[in-house]
Amino acid sequence: MAAEAKKSDFGGKAHVALNDPKLRANFRRAMDGLMAKRAIQFADPDEWKSLRARGAANRARALARLPELLEQLDARCTANGIQVHWAETTEEANAIVLGILMKAGAKRVIKGKSMVTEEMHLNAHLEAHGITAVESDLGEYIIQLAGEAPSHIVMPCIHKNKGEIAELFAEKIEGQVYTENVDELTAAARKALRGCFADADAGISGVNFAIAETGTLVLIENEGNGRLSTTLPPLHIAVTGIEKVLEKLDDVAPLLSLLPRSATGQPITTYVNMISSPRKPGEKDGPQAVHLVLLDSGRSRVYGDTELGDTLRCIRCAACMNHCPVYTRVGGHTYTFTYPGPIGKILTPQIEGLDCAGDQPHASTLCRACADVCPVEIPIPDILVRLRTEAVRPSATAGVKGGGSGRSAAETLGWAGWKTMYASPLVYGLATWAMGLVGNLMPDSLPMLKQWTSVRTKPKFAAKSLHQLAREKGFSDE
């Protein structure tokens, strides 16, 4: 994703986050609210089950034919007057967007919310070439003012409370006095953004679903900023990952219901934009030119493996992070890369490599809360285990970037020893007998016990094992 070499430091960043009571309270409160709102939306388990099955099937069916659907999308968009560009890397995508803007002489850009452009670090790239990009989604606008990265894929500034936003606005927006009144804060942002919309030479947006059959770009949002960004400026550039394709327009229906209900607990989004062409002769509004940039950035490698490929079904609703007990405690910035939470833990190591983000698949208890709420049935915990496996023993076929990088002699030896003990009734019997005798003498300072006993007492070995007690009490062996 990034040009600079980044490496995940989950434990180190978690340490900082865990010791920030304000941050923890912000996340806990926000996630509790989101979980409660989602639960109301899916109160009927049968409706949830059938809708989810339809959503998952539509995404799976599209992915099964991804290469040909992308070709079809390209052809349909082109026929509709949308210019299509393919980018293998984020660098290529940045160059394409910059090229389009420079050719048009665009200096000021207004942006709708787009995680893919976050993945590309597009704003910084444009800035370096003298083009100003202003984020128009309220949350994105706030973190842009603060010079931060999103901490959540749907609510990018969820890590901040209104006091922090009030301070930021008073400091950064000219003439703004400190207020914690949410309506006044929103009005201040709206006022500042109005001029940016009017002055923009180009609008850049993401895409929620790209329909191959019709060449339609579907964009959902709540603030109207997406519609303004894609209709007001003379030039619109939509940027998307290649996995967002759907076969036909009908396929979008269950997903339009699943996404907002899973994400924010809203029955529907305020705006559903369907963009199928630039302004046609005789039409009074809309951009004169529309471009679509299709970004791969490691996705086709993910696609190559049947199990791992399920990662690409994601519709970016964030329900997995809203329900994740780890994310709730450490927040989005702990994940270093663009996509946090459970989906980030399976996506980032595949895109960046297990050598860069190998600690992320292990930063999970495999509690399956994410799998329970995923509206497209991505088996996140099983993919986490698969990535843990690829990190120590890469499979010949998968080719996960950085596969095998998690191997260590000590750990390999440890699990070999574990197997020797547990795969042999005889060795196991001897070992448990010995541990019953001396196990409790182990000092708290031993490597793994030290971490364990930071907030817990040491487990106590029983004098007699269950095996022994069962024998003594006459429970039959066969």
């Binding site: 990190a391 197997k419 547990y422 196990g439 029983a462 095996h467």
Partner: protein
Amino acid sequence: MTDSPRPQRPHSVYFFGTCLIDLFYPDAGMAGMELLRREGLKVVFPQKQTCCGQPARNNGYQDEARAVARLQLDAFPGDWPIVVPSGSCAGMMKTHYPELFEGDPDHARAVAFSKRVFELTQFLVEVLDVRLVDRGEPVTITWHGSCHSQREMGVVDQPKALLRQLTNVTLVENPREAECCGFGGTFSVKQPEISAAMVTDKVASIEATGATQVVSGDCGCLMNIGGAIEKAAKRLRPRHIAEFLLERCHGR
């Protein structure tokens, strides 16, 4: 799983004790076997059994996990149900054995094995339809449902249905019951600070219910929650449901 038809009441069952219970909580295992025996079943405890293999599987060591799992396939050769006093180990054997043996000569055996696996409370309720008589003193408890018991085995209401049969037991629901306690096997030592934060929150939520005992069906969670309770010197008692139920029925 709950959507399969109610199996016939067998005359014999296997008991898979789990490695944690074997080493640290054998009384919970004995109580589980006694609960089955007092229903008139012959309870068989194969001495060859060791561990379900989950620790290695979860850490990416599939070959090691399979070797250990294969021993369990050998240890339970009959076609009786295999009752497990842990939703997590039961979940491993029920939902992950088939995939663990994918492409292995023992795959069919693993699939057949997985179909015989029951979590203890699930078996007591769904197969035996037990009726419990409470002989204990009044007590207020709360329930902790383990992640795998809830989300792999679909065991959510069964243990609470058993606890509600006990007339002198007041069960107070924990609003955060479904949330992970932060154990996660090696997670607790690989991300010790996050795990510590999770278990500290879990204990606080248990304490807030006003219960004096926290009952659960998984010794991994109990080791984590109980260890944190003891370290913080809280006046709360962690209990495995098997021990708790048996004790109530005996009036102790």
